[in-house]
């Protein structure tokens, strides 16, 4: 048996077999499964050897539980290791998310990779610990105090030409040291690799076509599987006619378990034909609630209630204001991850060991769920991350990994499962639909006196975690339940303010038992969320609930500002005290040349285009990144078409690891946010989802005349690094909506801003003329 220790001993073998293939496009494809052992806690994340190894040749191999889907974290982590260990980037090999060899870091999600691995713990602490340990070893070897040693290019040198390389000090051996809490990171002022723009290390392979995605993993003896899903949510299997596919050339087997149905064949084409031809009878699920009254439906459902903050005086404030209470209702639809490449995985289930090549964000949790579904010990399962198409959250990656494992177990051969576009679109866990009601009272001085928020969020399932396979479609079809929704009233808020979903606007004080965790000044505050059972699966989609909540909060702030007759930037600043959100708001306003003054509707220019400017800002998850966006938008008043022309975004994520990667994320977020604000919406009829391809689920294609984008980095000193992949997208719907109001006086309260909705809002505002 080969253990991780043996991998380390053999040095380069590990790299060639499992790590470098991501960056070596012409190298052999994934290896057939080899013997290995794993235990639930088989990699001690408190040990330096869990994170780093130095080969005899001085190469550094790092192990991370945070993997790259295109967001650039691979390159940034290589920069981090290179920086702390003072070696060139080319001398670092990074192994991502392989349960045989990398520590369990849960899920790569939630803008958490940077805060978790780039501050003073985990990978960053390991690299700092290793540098200190190497310096101490060199001190002993050379007989020179650490203070008189210098380190550069993987070599430690002292006075009089004394020098020793990392390879000579520890090459091929383990450190056998714990992570050292006291190990010092290099300060950003001393960085030479981190903080510099580095082109993504996968880029040459991507652009020249040789990059190996999970879709390209090939294992000897591999068969091709397809799933056959029910026609609608909640449908259960009545029966299958096996005879309907027996004649398909290349057909191998039909796999039926509970309501799970799949086919296996020798070729991808044969599997596709068999899946299409298979006759299956289903008992239909319940009817879906009508779409045109869906948000009213949500408001009537039993709910699990949560109160993020409640100063207990809001009802009194609203009562005193009587008719002067300002109210608005916002809605946000289900939206899709809509990965460009439908999900794919390869599983090789053998008698005593299982290997799954998976695009999952959650290698260890997926491993645990697969063990549960297959009824085998978790120690026998290995999940190896291989990048899929960009996921933006919980797409079909986990479900397809389950599917592949189930089919491979049934046919006793490696099986590759490729979803069709419909498999992906009909059954992924959509971004949640929400109805959000806001109420506020303006004081006589034009300051907001009370803020009241009540929202209904549709939720069903989510990430499966370690033991909830029923949270996604495959697990449910196999008879597992999604996480139950515990209906009931809210507990009073306690502890620190939790604003993970940005339900709480930055303008309130956020006080719980006297401790105020908000970024703002409004003291009379209440934020209530009713989570109700969704008829469709939901799960995290880039900026989950943050984009929905920020759309409502920042649009409503704009409505209040208009009522107060104030300038939208000054009005926001007036209600904020947190330096960092103030910093990005001021920076964006300055860069955009914001002209202070109240917003007002203007007559469209002679070309029938009304032009306006809107602003929005966010303290992402309360403290995980800060951004402000100013959008210049054209509104074609005759057609209702809204077209953003210029975005100025200011972003503060603390010290920046890779400025080029950060820009790429901010730009992509702005345009993805534009698509979501303007066109994206999951649709359904009485029984089933009708968004099943790119005609029925629109997305802005590459012919879209994209707005100009200007980015300002705000970089305060002495703050930790935060996430940055979800800040800019969060602001787009509100900034566009506010710009449309500025241009026309029409208020958009329902995403997406389709031409029909814009025309209706223009009619309401009486400004179509």
């Amino acid at each position: 048996m080969t253990t991780r220790r043996d991998f380390l001993r053999t040095g380069g073998a590990l790299v060639v077999s499992f790590g470098a293939h991501a960056l070596l496009p012409r190298a052999a494809t994934a290896q057939p499964a080899t013997a290995f052992t794993t235990r639930p806690s088989h990699i001690d994340a408190g040990a330096l050897d869990a994170w780093l190894a130095v080969g005899a040749d001085g190469r550094v191999t790092a192990y991370t539980g945070k993997c790259d889907f295109g967001q650039g974290i691979f390159t940034a982590q290589v920069q981090l290791v290179a920086e702390e260990l003072c070696v060139p980037i080319a001398r670092v090999t990074l192994i991502e998310c392989d349960t045989a060899v990398t520590p369990d870091q849960g899920t790569t999600s939630g803008s958490q990779s940077t805060p978790v691995n780039f501050n003073t713990e985990n990978l960053a602490l390991a690299a700092a610990t290793a540098r200190e340990a190497l310096l101490e070893m060199a001190s002993k070897r050379l007989g020179v105090p650490v203070a008189r040693l210098a380190v550069a290019d993987g070599t430690i040198s002292g006075p009089h030409g004394a020098r020793v390389t990392y390879g000579e000090l520890v090459g091929g051996r383990r450190f056998e040291l714990p992570l050292r809490r006291t190990a010092k990171r290099k300060p950003p002022s001393a960085w030479t690799t981190l903080g510099k723009p580095v082109t993504s290390l996968d880029r040459v392979a991507l652009v020249t076509g040789g990059f190996e995605y999970v879709h390209h993993v090939r294992v000897p003896g591999m068969l091709h599987g397809r799933v056959v899903r029910p026609p609608d949510m909640g449908a259960t299997l009545v029966g299958v006619e096996a005879s309907s596919v027996r004649g398909v050339p290349g057909f191998v087997d039909l796999v039926v378990r509970e309501s799970f149905v799949g086919v296996v064949a020798r070729t991808q084409y044969a599997a596709m034909v068999a899946a299409q031809q298979l006759k299956v009878r289903w008992k239909p699920g319940p009817a879906l609630p009508p779409r045109d009254t869906f948000f009213e439906f949500l408001r009537r459902q039993p709910s699990r209630d949560q109160v993020a903050v409640d100063s207990t005086d809001v009802d009194a404030a609203l009562g005193r204001a009587g008719d002067h209470v300002i109210r608005a209702r916002y809605t946000y639809p289900y939206q899709m991850h809509g990965s460009l490449g439908p999900s794919c995985a390869v599983a090789d289930v053998r008698a005593d060991e299982v290997t799954v090549w998976s695009p999952t964000q959650s290698a260890y949790p997926t491993r645990s769920c697969i063990a549960k579904l297959l009824g085998i010990p978790v120690e026998t399962v290995r999940v190896v991350f291989k990048r899929g198409s960009g996921c933006y959250g919980l797409n079909g990656a986990d479900a397809v990994s389950f599917d592949a494992a189930i089919l491979s177990q049934a046919v006793r051969a490696p099986v590759r499962v490729q979803y069709t576009r419909q498999d992906e679109m009909k059954w992924e866990n959509y971004g949640a639909a929400c109805a959000i009601d806001l109420r506020a009272v303006l004081g006589a001085d034009g300051t907001i006196a009370a803020w009241d928020r009540e929202a209904w969020v549709a939720a069903l399932g989510s990430r499966p975690g370690y033991d909830r396979p029923g949270n996604i479609i495959t697990g449910m079809l196999l008879g597992h339940e999604p996480e139950p929704l515990a209906i009931g009233p809210a507990e009073p808020p306690k502890g620190k303010l939790n604003n993970n979903s940005n339900a709480v606007p930055p303008y309130v004080a956020g006080c719980i038992a006297g401790a105020c965790g908000g970024e703002g000044t409004i003291r009379s505050e209440r934020v209530v969320t009713h989570t109700v059972r969704s008829p469709l699966f939901t799960g995290p989609l880039r900026s989950p609930l943050r984009i929905q909540n920020t759309f409502a909060n920042e649009s409503f702030m704009d409505e209040l500002c208009a009522r107060a007759g104030a300038d939208p930037v000054a009005f926001r600043l007036h209600h904020l005290h947190d330096d960092r959100i103030i910093g990005v708001l001021r920076a964006a306003a300055r860069a955009a040349g914001w002209q202070a003054g109240p917003r007002r509707s203007r007559a469209p220019a002679g070309d029938g285009v009304a032009r306006g400017r809107g602003v929005a800002c966010v303290a992402y998850e309360g403290h995980n990144g800060y951004a402000a966006l100013i959008a210049d938008v054209d509104v074609h008043v005759a057609t209702g078409v809204v077209h953003p022309r210029r975005y100025v975004v200011a972003n503060d994520c603390g010290p920046i690891s890779n400025p080029d990667g950060l820009r790429n994320q901010l730009e992509g977020g702005l345009l993805q946010g534009t698509s979501r604000a303007l066109v994206e919406e999951v649709t359904w009829d009485e029984r089933r989802v009708t968004s099943v391809d790119w005609a029925s689920y629109p997305s802005l294609h590459l012919d879209y005349d994209v707005p100009a984008i200007e980015i300002v980095f705000v970089t305060p000193a002495n703050v930790p690094a935060t996430g940055a992949g979800e800040t800019s997208i969060t602001l787009v719907p509100a900034a566009i909506g506010n710009a449309v109001f500025d241009a026309t006086g029409a208020r958009l309260r329902d995403v997406p801003f389709t031409p029909a909705r814009v025309l209706a809002a223009l009619r309401d505002a009486g400004s179509t003329g």
Binding site: G210, R421, Y704, V706
Partner: protein, 156 residues
């Protein structure tokens, strides 16, 4: 049925069900990674290849219609060591995120600029109307294509 294909300059003879989409033959029988399955209905461009110099969506083209054809995939334009100038422009502009869309983006851009070397930005965008990038790397991709197009002008 036996199908003959010249792919990126190499001749292949493949025994395959002639109704098999060309994409599956390229990906599964020939091990190419450039063209990828995205939608199966020619809506996104991920599977784009050049066939006799014309852009085709290989996910919907039965391989029988490609018998004897000269096929160029994203890999056929250039190599990691010597990328095609258009590929180099994508590298220089940092124009990728997940990268899954790149066959459609790069080959379509090349085709429009092969036909119309002085194409305007609007014409280039127009040609990319059926190509989707869900990471929304639009800005950098269009900048990369413009960089390449400007290079063409200079070398003419």
């Amino acid at each position: 049925m036996t199908i003959r294909l010249r792919v990126n300059g190499t001749d292949h003879t493949i025994a395959v069900d002639p109704d098999t989409p060309l994409l599956f033959v390229l990906a599964d029988d020939l091990g190419l990674r450039g063209p990828r399955y995205g939608c199966g209905v020619a809506q996104c461009g991920s599977c784009t290849v050049m066939l006799h110099g014309q852009l085709v969506r290989s996910c919907v083209l039965p391989v029988r219609h490609a018998d004897g054809a000269d096929v160029v995939t994203l890999e056929g334009l250039g190599t990691p060591e010597a990328p095609h100038p258009l590929q180099q422009a994508f590298i220089d502009e940092g124009a990728s995120q997940c990268g899954f869309c790149l066959s459609g983006v790069i080959l379509t851009a090349k085709a429009v600029l092969d036909a119309t070397p002085d194409a305007s930005d609007a014409e280039i965008r127009g040609a990319l109307g059926g190509v989707l990038c869900r990471c929304f790397t639009h800005t950098r991709m269009l900048r990369a294509i413009r960089r390449y197009a400007d290079g063409l002008k200079r070398t003419r």
